[in-house]
C-alpha cells in the first residue's frame, strides 16, 4: 500500500483499520488468522462505504482537492490510448494549466481539453495550481475549432479552483476569453463531452464546460464561487468555508437533482485517490458510452441539443398581473 500524502480526518479510522489488517496479513497463516482477515476486510469495506456516504459538503471539497487525487496527466496515461499534445495558442504563450491535444479512446479519436493542477511542487508552479490564464482559454478555443473542422468530438476534463486572478490575466482579457468560449462552444458542430474530475471552479470551469453531456465524478464539486470566497464575502472570514460549502449545494447529488449535470460517475471505494486505475476505467467507460451516443446526432441536432440543455436551466416564478394572487410557480429545469 502506497503511503498517502495526506490523511483526511474522516479517513483516519479507515487507515487505522487498514494498518491492523496489514499487520495481521504478515502473521503466519492459520484458520483463525484467515477468518480475522476476512472479517476485517468486510469491516473496512463497510467503513469506507459508511464514511463516504455521509460526507459533509466541506469534506467533499477536501476529497476533491486531495493531493493524491488523479489529475489530468494521470487520466491521460490511464484513460487514453494516445495523447498528442498541441501547445500553441499562437498569441502569447503555452498555458500549462490548460492542456490540449489529439487523443485516442478506443475507436474514438478526440480533441482532449483539460485542466491540470500539478502533482508536485514543480508542476504546481508551472500550472498555477490549475488556474488558467486567458491564453489557455484561447488555446482551448482554437483547438476546439480545429476539432470541429475535422469532425472530431471534444472531451473536456475540468479541474480548476478558478481562472487565474492576476494582473497579467486581467490585462490579457480573462473575462473576454472565458465569455468568448461560452459563446463559441455553444455553436460548435461537433459533439462535446465534459466531466468535472475534481474542482469545478466557477467561470474558469465553465469556460471549457459547455457540453452536450456534462458529468461529474462522485466527489467532485462544481460551484459558482469557491467556499472560501463565498465565506469571505458573506461571513467576512474564510473560517466559515464549511458553512458556505453547505449553503452552495454543489455536491454531485445536488448537481444531478438540479439538472446541472447529466450523470454522476461513481468513484472507487474510499474515493478516486485510493484507486486511480479503477477511477480511470470508470471514466473511460462513461466517456466512450457518451461519445457513442452522440455519434448519431447530426451537426444541427448537436448544436440545438447543447443550446436547449443550457436554455432550460433556471428557477423562477412567472406571475402575470391578472394572476398575481395565485402564485403560479414555474420551475423550469425539472
Amino acid at each position: 500500500m502506497k503511503k498517502p500524502s495526506v490523511i483526511l480526518p474522516f479517513e483516519r479510522p479507515i487507515y487505522e483499520l487498514e494498518e491492523k489488517l496489514n499487520a495481521l496479513e504478515k502473521k503466519p497463516t492459520s484458520a483463525q488468522v484467515k477468518e480475522s482477515i476476512r472479517n476485517m476486510r468486510v469491516e473496512i469495506t463497510h467503513m469506507k462505504k459508511d464514511v463516504f456516504s455521509k460526507l459533509d459538503p466541506w469534506e467533499v471539497v477536501q476529497v476533491a482537492r486531495h493531493p493524491d487525487r488523479p489529475q489530468l496527466r494521470d487520466y491521460i496515461e490511464l484513460v487514453f490510448d494516445e495523447f498528442v499534445e498541441l501547445h500553441g495558442d499562437k498569441s502569447f504563450g503555452d498555458d500549462r494549466a490548460l492542456m490540449t491535444g489529439f487523443a485516442r479512446l478506443g475507436e474514438h479519436k478526440v480533441m482532449l481539453i483539460g485542466q491540470h493542477k500539478g502533482r508536485n511542487l514543480q508542476e504546481r508552479n508551472e500550472c498555477f495550481y490549475g488556474c488558467a490564464h486567458p491564453e489557455g482559454y484561447k488555446k482551448a478555443l482554437s483547438k476546439m475549432r480545429m476539432a470541429e473542422k475535422y469532425g472530431i468530438p471534444i472531451v473536456c476534463l475540468i479541474d480548476t479552483p478558478g481562472a487565474y486572478p492576476g494582473v497579467g490575466a486581467e490585462e490579457r482579457g480573462q473575462a473576454y476569453h472565458i465569455a468568448l468560449n461560452l459563446r463559441e462552444m455553444s455553436q460548435l458542430e461537433t459533439p462535446i463531452v465534459c466531466t468535472v474530475i475534481g474542482e469545478g471552479g466557477s467561470g474558469g470551469a465553465l469556460g471549457i464546460g459547455i457540453g452536450n453531456h456534462v458529468s461529474v465524478l462522485e466527489f467532485a464539486y462544481y460551484s459558482v464561487i469557491s467556499p472560501e470566497g463565498c465565506a469571505g464575502i458573506l461571513w467576512k472570514h474564510v473560517k466559515h468555508a464549511d458553512r458556505a460549502a453547505r449553503a452552495l449545494k454543489f455536491t454531485s447529488q445536488n448537481l444531478l437533482k438540479m439538472g446541472i449535470v447529466d450523470e454522476i460517475i461513481q468513484e472507487p471505494l474510499g474515493a478516486a485517490h485510493r484507486n486511480h486505475r479503477q477511477m480511470a476505467a470508470e471514466l473511460r467507460a462513461t466517456l466512450m458510452d457518451n461519445l457513442k451516443k452522440l455519434k448519431g446526432f447530426s451537426k444541427e441536432e448537436l448544436v440545438n441539443h447543447r443550446y436547449e440543455k443550457f436554455r432550460n436551466i433556471g428557477v423562477f416564478e412567472e406571475k402575470f398581473q391578472e394572476e398575481e394572487s395565485e402564485l403560479s410557480e414555474t420551475i423550469q429545469d425539472e
Partner: protein, 279 residues
Amino acid sequence: MASTPQESWNGRKKRGVPEGLWIQCPTCNATVYKKTVDEALNTCPECNHHFYVPTQTRIKQLLDEGSFEEWFSELSPCDPLEFEDKKPYKERLIEEQKKTGLKEACVAGRGYMRGRPLILAITDSSFIMGSMGSVVGEKLTRAIEKATEMNLPVIIVSGSGGGARMHEGIISLMQMGKVSAALSRFHKAKGLFISVLTNPTMGGVAASFASLGDVTLAEPNALVGFAGPRVVSETIKEKLPDGFQTSEFLMEHGFVDRIVTRQKLRSEIAKIIDYCVFQ
C-alpha cells in the same frame, strides 16, 4: 463572483449633508447640488464623475420619451437553494425589491432611440450588486431571442459588482452559458449587439454577455474586470497598478472600443446602429 466597493447615494447621510439636496463627489470631493447632478445625467458638474444611474433614469436618458415597453416583468426570483447567510435569501429579495423599486436586477424591453427601434436591457448594480441569478439570465436570454426573431439591435447596459449571484449557486453560473448561447445564435443571425459597461461590471457578468458586444462601449473610469481587485492584490501580494481594471485600462489593452461619456452615450449608440443596421 467579485466584491467591489459600491458607490451609493447613502454615503451622504453619514457625512452630515442634508438629505436629498446635496451630495459629495467621491472623485473631486466637491459638495454638489443633487438637482444639478441629476440634470447633468447623474454626473458631477465639477469633474464629470459618473454617478450610479437607477434603471428608470437610465431608460429616460437613453430612449425616446415614453417609448419603452417593458417585457418579461412577470418573471420573479425564487430561492432554489434555500440559501441563508446573515438573512434568508427570500427576505433579502423582498428587502432589495423595496429598496430599489425593482423586482429583479434586470429590466428588459423594446424602445426607440431617436426613432430607431431596439431591444434594451439593463442590469442595475443596486439590486444585490447587479448580480445575475435565474431571472436576470432568463430575461436577457428572452430579450436576445426576441431580438433575433424581430431582427432588432440589442443594447445591454451592464452594472454588476457581483457577477453570478452566489445565492442561487451553480444555477447562476449556468446563466452565463445560457445568455452567451443566446448571443451566439443572435451573432450567427448577424444581429448587432452593443455592450455598454458601467461601474462596476465584474465577475460572471464581465465573463459572459458584457464582454461579447460587437461594439463595446464603456463609461469613463468604470471598474471592469474578471476577478475583484481585492482578490487580485491578495493573490499577487502587491499593490495594484494605478488605474487597474478601469475602462481606460481595458481600452488600453484592447478590450473596449470606445470610452463614452454619459452625455454622448445616446448619440454614439445611435451612430453605431446607423453604421451597422439602418444605412
